[in-house]
Every structure is written in C-alpha cells, then in structure tokens.
C-alpha cells in the first residue's frame, strides 16, 4: 500500500514515458518514410501540378481517420462481447456502410474544394480528373481501412491484446501510410 503512490508517480516519470514511446515511434516513423519515398519519387509530378500537392495532407491523414472509426467500433463491440466477424451481421454491415458513405461525402467535397483552389492558385485541373482522382483514391482507402480494421481487430482478439491499445494505432498508421501510396498510384494511372 505504501509504495502505491511511488509507483504511480513512477509511471509519470519522464524517463519511463520516453522509454515506452520511443521504440514505437522509431518503427512507425521508419514505416511512414516508406510512403515518403513514394511521395519523393513523384516529386516532379507534384511540383508541376501544385493542385495535386494540395490533396497530399488529406491523403496522409484521412485514411487513418476512417480506419479509426472502424477499429473503434469493432473494439467496443469486442469489449461488450457482441462482436462477430461475419459480414452479414448488422453491426459489422452498419460500420462498413457508414465508412463507405463517409468516404464518398468527404472525398467528393475534397474534389470540388480543391478544384476551386486550383483555379485560385492559377494551376487549374479538369473537375472530372480531380473528382476521379479524389474519389477513386478515397474509396480504395476506405475499403483498405475496413479490411485492415476487421483484420487487425480479429488478430488482436485472437492473441488477447487489448484492442484499444493495439488496434487503433496500428490501423490508423497503416491507413495513413497506404493513403499516400494509393493516391500516388491513382495519380499515375489517371494522369
């Protein structure tokens, strides 16, 4: 009992926080640099079409947001004991439908807004081209987020990890990394 406060303060020591986080951060940043290599290899295309450069930060971040929605809902259902990995169950189907709907909305808005920004920046691109790039990348990303969300929750459930600690960070980071890769692949095909 007497050492309880000491242990508590200890978990809040600078050394222990840095030591817990640093290895994870190193691995994640190395993985993120994988998508950086893809981005850098397309540098000429992006610098020649600054309108595409405007899409890059959203493509880096939005996949993770979508993945987090799937992962958070599945983790909650896992804690409540109502989780099923059968895609015919209403709960899983609802998450899948919602994420697809969110992706359609967000990436349509993105396409239109960036089209307007491109005109204002003086490097216009055709609306059809931008919408194709935005929606095809966005929907592919949503499908990846759903598949990864289900897969990682399933694996952490099988191995007995706490899904809150494992699933959300893994899915978020994986989707962030794949976002840039998918986007660059779509740009390569469409342009």
């Amino acid at each position: 009992m007497s050492d309880a406060p000491a242990t508590r303060v200890d978990a809040w020591s600078i050394e222990s926080i840095v030591r817990t986080m640093a290895p994870l951060l190193l691995v994640l940043s190395l993985l993120e640099m994988g998508s950086g290599i893809v981005l850098e290899s397309f540098e000429e295309t992006y610098l020649a079409n600054p309108t595409l450069l405007v899409l890059v930060p959203v493509m880096i971040g939005m996949g993770g947001n979508l993945g987090a929605i799937v992962a958070a809902r599945l983790s909650t259902q896992l804690h409540l004991g109502t989780l099923s990995f059968d895609p015919r169950t209403p709960a899983l189907r609802a998450s899948i439908l919602a994420v697809l709907g969110l992706a359609v909305t967000v990436f349509s808005v993105l396409g239109v807004v960036v089209y307007a920004i491109g005109h204002a920046m003086g490097s216009p691109m055709a609306l059809a081209t931008l919408m194709t790039i935005s929606l095809v990348s966005g929907l592919s990303l949503a499908v990846v987020a759903i598949v990864l969300g289900v897969l990682v929750t399933y694996v952490s459930y099988r191995r007995g990890y706490d899904p809150d600690d494992v699933t959300i960070p893994v899915v978020t980071n994986a989707c962030d990394i794949l976002g840039v890769v998918i986007f660059s692949a779509v740009v390569l095909v469409v342009l």
């Binding site: 508590r8 303060v9 809040w12 600078i14 926080i17 840095v18 986080m21 640093a22 994870l24 951060l25 190193l26 994640l28 940043s29 190395l30 993120e32 640099m33 998508s35 950086g36 290599i37 981005l39 850098e40 992006y46 610098l47 600054p50 309108t51 450069l53 405007v54 890059v56 930060p57 959203v58 880096i60 971040g61 939005m62 993770g64 947001n65 987090a68 929605i69 809902r73 209403p90 709960a91 189907r93 609802a94 998450s95 439908l97 919602a98 994420v99 709907g101 969110l102 909305t105 967000v106 808005v109 993105l110 960036v114 920004i117 920046m121 960070p169 978020t172 962030d176 990394i177 840039v180």
Partner: protein, 192 residues
C-alpha cells in the same frame, strides 16, 4: 437495430469531426502548394520524403500525451488546470522530447535514404536537421498549449476528453505542422 439505421447514426456522429479534419488537411495542402513551399521542396530534396513521417509523428506523440492526460483526469491524478504539477510537467516534457527527438531521427533517416540512392543527392544534413528541428519545436509549443487548453476546458464543462483528443491533435497537427515547416524552410534559407 437494422444495419441501415445504425449506419446512418455512425455517419451522422462521425461526419462533423471528419469535415473539421478535412478543413485542416486542405489548409495544410494550400500551404504546401504555395510557391514558397514548392520552392523549398525543390531546394531541399529529402523534405518531401520526411513529410509523412513528420506529420504522422505529431499525431502519435501528442495523441499519446492527450490519452495520458485523459487517463490522469479520469483517475483523479491531474487537476483540469494548466499548473506546475509534477505529473503534468513530466508528461509534457517527455512528449516534447519524443516529438523533437523523432523529428531529428526523421531528418537523418531521410537524408541517408536519398544519399544511398544512385543519381539522387539530398539537401545538406545541416539544412534538413535545422528545418525539421525548428518546425518540431515550434509545433510542440502550439500542440501542448492547444491540447491542454481544449482538453481541460472541455473536461471542466463535462465533455469526455477521450472524444476531444483525436480531432484536436489531427487538426492542430496538420495545420501547424505544415505552417511551421514553411516558416522553418524560410528561416533556414536565410541562415544557410
């Protein structure tokens, strides 16, 4: 509940946060597309390579700080005020050390990745390190103050801090990450 009905509920609950994050991302993209920043990306090869890792580590480092503060509030270990509390100071110092340290690592790694590729030559290690260190220190100040203010103010008004952290971290991180990167590029351009 049927799948369609609950899908609509999830959609309605998640859309506002995604739209806020979308605005932050588009703003960051506009900064990235400015002539000054494009010039910087061209002048300092390796910077675009470092960008995803730089932006993502903001999310991981300050997301973890936010989660720690939320747990501290829930457990009654922290008071919802910005004060010279040992736990709070430790958590903030550790997050800043992690954030700045990992940015230095990203700078060195990006430089090395380009240096070993035949036919590619990175910007000077000094310039890349300078830009990323400067940007990470500036971002750290805004992220710490912004995160603590929003989470504490939200908590005092009865909001669950867990729901505030994600959107605050992604939006502040995207917006200020790229803005401070642009400022750092300009400053290093003056010095070097």
């Amino acid at each position: 509940m049927d799948a369609r009905g609950s899908a609509r509920t999830i959609y309605r609950e998640s859309l506002p946060i995604l739209l806020v994050s979308l605005c932050g991302g588009i703003f960051a993209g506009v900064v990235l597309g400015t002539p000054a920043m494009r010039n910087g990306l061209e002048t300092y090869p390796g910077l675009l390579l470092a960008l995803p890792a730089f932006l993502a580590t903001r999310g991981n480092v300050y997301g973890a700080l936010g989660a720690r503060i939320a747990s501290g509030l829930h457990q009654g270990l922290l008071d919802p005020h910005i004060a010279w509390d040992r736990r709070l100071v430790n958590a903030v110092v550790a997050a800043v050390l992690n954030g700045v340290g990992i940015s230095a690592f990203v700078a060195v790694a990006s430089w090395s990745i380009l240096a070993v590729q035949p036919g590619r030559s990175p910007a000077s290690l000094f310039a890349l390190l300078g830009i990323l260190l400067l940007a990470s220190v500036l971002t750290a100040c805004v992220m710490v103050v912004g995160l603590l203010s929003v989470v504490f103010a939200g908590y005092r008004r009865g909001a669950d801090p867990d729901n505030l952290i994600g959107p605050v971290v992604t939006t502040l991180g995207d917006v200020f990450g790229v803005v401070f990167l642009a400022i750092a590029v300009a400053l290093v351009g003056v010095i070097a």
